[in-house]
Symmetry: C2
Subunit: 266 residues, 2 copies
């Protein structure tokens, strides 16, 4: 289906199509489609744009990524389907490594996702891990704990887009600075992350990349951003924004539904 | 996966599993999984219970269904997966006919859904239409317009759970009383329906059935409910409720994430 550029919800519909295609290719699981729907609802509430508090969190995230010794970006099926190229660009800009981490893990899906990332990285400059994990995240069950010793396990700063709450929390408990991207400000991931970014994946990754490029040239500003970012205040600002959005949406003028009532209760 | 009854989000997780199973059986399409996710996000915001304004709309819906000459309940893949039995019980209580109407229509899926409904109707007392449509809803394109002359086409009151905005609007334009069930109060379906019910499908259908049984015995009360229901006021009350919920959710006490920060921006 061709979606006209002029459609008011063009970006959202393109993302939906991309995800369904990735699901057909076995990259995305059905639970990933449902999770994407939850994100769509939140993004609609947020106005499908990056809010001011999201931009602040994205700049703080960039500051931490630039200063990190071993930054790692985690990628799952939905992330690969929606923003493989953007993630690779960000990994180059930082520079950071990329690791495939799946909630519904199958080795085949890990390999397929790693392949998508590699083909997004034309000149093979980014380290992409995933297959053959050799370490475990403490506190997680079964295959969900699997990771790489030289990747996620030893990372100091991890960017976890669309992450599950348990894993986000387990990574925080390992002492890492955990940067989440999750449209739901009430999710356990957003509640547990060190720097929760409440924004849509592609927008967030593009914004972080832009801030990374700025802050690499201006370490003074990077330090200031990292110092001034205040997690609780940022989440409060997000809720104020949502509150305002809800009031705008519920007041917006609407055509009255045309109806010629035929039924009467007698 | 067995979900313990004590889990705080038990019902929501059971529904999600049921839907994924129906998707495996070819009853639900991937777009249906994404739509379900949107519903999950709204239901979480609403507190996963029927709000007071939802109950008012459900009672008004029951009053109109009881008084209708030709009431029809529309069923799609998600509805069949989540509430086939509840829909059949409601159809018997009114009594109403049931018609399968799909947004992503394939004749095979129509037949499969009709079969699920028939097996939920042990003693075959409900008329279930779907295969071999013989009429079109004006103003809709392609296969989305297909319906039955003696069913949806000539109905005076239609209950359309989880309906697409275009079709809800087209049915309103035909002069029908359109009762929608949709967790998103801002969706085009909720905005266009004569009686928008902002509640989760199974809860809404069970509530309407209960009200139908009450109002069949008390026509006076049925008339009062239908007269007193005020669409715009009911939607305003829904938004006030959401607003309150958001303020509660954003204030709820949270454990501070345990974090031993390792990174410093120098």
């Amino acid at each position: 289906m061709k979606i006209p550029k002029s459609h008011p919800r063009h970006d959202s519909l393109v993302r939906r199509e991309r995800l369904v295609r990735a699901w057909r290719a076995g990259i995305v699981v059905p639970e990933g489609l449902i999770a994407h729907g939850r994100g769509e609802a939140w993004d609609y509430l947020l106005g499908e744009g990056s809010s001011a508090p999201a931009l602040v969190a994205e700049k703080a995230a960039a500051a931490h990524l630039v200063a990190a010794k071993r930054p790692v970006i985690s990628v799952n099926g939905n992330v690969a389907a929606l923003a493989a190229r953007e993630v690779i660009r960000l990994a180059k800009a930082i520079p950071a490594e990329v690791e495939v981490n799946l909630f519904h893990r199958s080795e085949r899906r890990v390999r397929d996702i790693a392949r998508i990332l590699r083909s997004a990285d034309g000149r093979r400059r980014v380290t992409i891990r995933g297959p053959r994990p050799d370490a475990r995240i403490p506190g997680l069950e079964s295959r969900r704990a699997l990771c790489h010793r030289d990747g996620m396990f030893r990372a100091d700063v991890v960017l976890v887009p669309l992450e599950d709450g348990d894993r986000a929390e387990a990574l925080v408990n390992m002492g890492k600075t955990v940067i989440s991207i999750d449209l739901n400000p009430l999710s356990r991931t957003s509640q547990r992350a060190s720097i929760p970014i409440v924004d849509e994946l592609s927008r967030a990754v593009l914004n972080i990349e832009r801030f990374v490029r700025d802050l690499r040239r201006d370490r003074e500003e990077a330090r200031r951003m990292a110092d001034e970012y205040e997690r609780a205040g940022n989440l409060r600002a997000t809720f104020s924004f949502l509150d305002w959005r809800l009031s705008v949406l519920s007041r917006k003028p609407r055509r009255r539904p045309r109806r010629k009532r035929r039924t009467h209760v007698k």
